[in-house]
Amino acid sequence: MSAPTLEIRNIVKRFGEFTAVDGVSLEVRSGEVVGLLGVNGAGKTTLMNMILGLITPTEGSIHAFGMDLAKDRMKILRRSNFCTTYAALPGNLKVKHNLIIFAKLYGVDNPKKKVADLLELLEITRLSDKPTGQLSAGESTRVNLAKALLNDPELLLLDEPTASLDPDIADKVRKLVRRVQKDRAPAILYTSHNMRDIEEVCDRVLFMHKGKILASGTADEITSHFKEDDLEDVFIKIARSGQLDGLLPAEKTDFPAL
């Protein structure tokens, strides 16, 4: 088995008395899409931000491509990229200008061609000369995805990429992620509240709650573990439990160890 692209060991993040992420360990390998599922405040976005180096972990380590994030953040970021609903591109710049500038920041050779190719891949060439601020939510998401693919990342972090999208566009985004995974085989960490996203796109699911990983496995393994019909019911069960009691931590499940 190949070495993991992303390897997180016993990561903890405390903000004063509050523990946002509590001893999480995970691995994501090349060509694998790992879904990070959990209610609001479960710690998913904090974990993503730690992987991007935007938040410093209190304890534990993050390695990508065999390098320590604490020491080689710039080298790791050059080979990674991300897409999140919490960020946007400057609205008064044209789509192509925003993307060309980010292509240059990521050190892409021939940025204009790369941007043109990606716009074509995402079927948004017509948006090239449009001011980014005039795009619809679905168009913005696809432009943000184009930004995330500019450097052909070996590690791709997608934080709720289908949030606020209609089912048609969300479906297109899911297909696109699958296509990227098939064609380029990056390691993808994917957070979502959309169970369909997780079921369709992810090879493996990590269920987070109150900063911990409760369970990991395929969508089917997790639903059967919690004795529910589908992931949505598992989600609701965990959200309404309000506590960890009765919900087995990952290391006590029968699922493959992380």
Binding site: F15, L54, P90, G91, L93, F102, G107
Partner: protein, 265 residues
């Protein structure tokens, strides 16, 4: 530092300005209003016999133009950062392979562009409206400009650090900080006209040395190299302090999650 990264960031700022007429308007409007107001007030005072001091009007006009250099330089750095906050683009930048030194260098380059562009406009207006040629000062003028731009960068970097530390509530500091130090900078009056305790603070400010030196030259005295040397020395100290403060604030913001809050809210 990677020059390609700095150039890409600078290109983005230039596009942001050129594609936003309001931003371009703001770049010229306030400096021109300031120059016209101070220029005509001082001309009026002189014509009414309110001051007979030789060189009073040219001194005020030169001071107005040079103060604007400091202000534009500070704004270049601070507003560039705020542009990224307002457009929710900061997260994209901070999670890209961009070193903070490259980010700050690009913002400082924006400061240079703003100073050069508004400086040219103000010099032309001063010549047309008051027959005052600032360019006559040649080498000293360059030294004054460099010192004021350097201190503008220092104030800009401190402004960013405080916004990162205190969040959106501190945004107004981006405009307020230059005016907090203006009374101590002896822009429009001599340091000796200040109360003793303010004089002590004033001499610790690079701009006070620049403006004292400027007034000396405009009064027909030779350039005081001592003032220039002290201004450069103080700027070096303040620059190191601003760099240290920014680096500490950023590390603390990463620790507390404040960077993400500023970036994404």
């Amino acid at each position: 530092m990677n020059p390609r990264t700095i150039l890409a960031l600078l290109t983005r700022y230039v596009l942001l300005y050129t594609r936003n007429p309001v931003r371009s308007f703001e770049l010229f409007f306030w400096p021109i209003v300031q120059l016209l107001m101070w220029g005509f007030v001082s001309t009026s005072l002189r014509n009414q016999g309110g001051t007979g001091a030789h060189g009073f009007v040219p001194s005020l006009i030169a001071a107005t133009i040079l103060w604007d250099a400091l202000f534009r330089s500070q704004q270049g750095v601070a507003i560039s950062f705020l542009e990224d906050v307002w457009t929710r683009n900061l997260l994209n930048i901070f999670a890209a392979p961009v070193r903070m030194s490259e980010y700050v260098a690009a913002a400082c380059a924006v400061g240079i562009l703003r100073v050069v562009i508004t400086g040219i406009v103000l010099v032309v207006i001063a010549w047309l409206a008051y027959s005052f040629n600032l360019l006559q000062f040649q080498l000293p003028l360059i030294a004054w400009y460099v010192n004021l731009m350097l201190f503008g960068w220092v104030l800009g970097i401190i402004s960013i650090a405080l916004i990162v530390k205190w969040g959106h509530g501190a945004e107004s500091l981006a405009w307020a900080i230059p005016f907090m130090i203006q009374p101590f900078s002896a822009v429009f009056f001599r340091v000796q006209d200040l109360p003793p305790w303010m004089q002590a603070v004033s001499w610790a400010m690079p701009p006070a040395h620049v403006f004292e030196g400027m007034r000396g030259v405009m009064a027909g005295q030779p350039l005081d190299w001592r003032h220039l040397g002290v201004a450069f020395g103080l700027n070096a100290v303040y620059f190191l302090f601003a760099g240290w403060l920014f680096s500490r604030t950023l590390a603390s913001a990463r620790e507390k999650g404040q960077l993400v809050k500023v970036s994404s809210s």
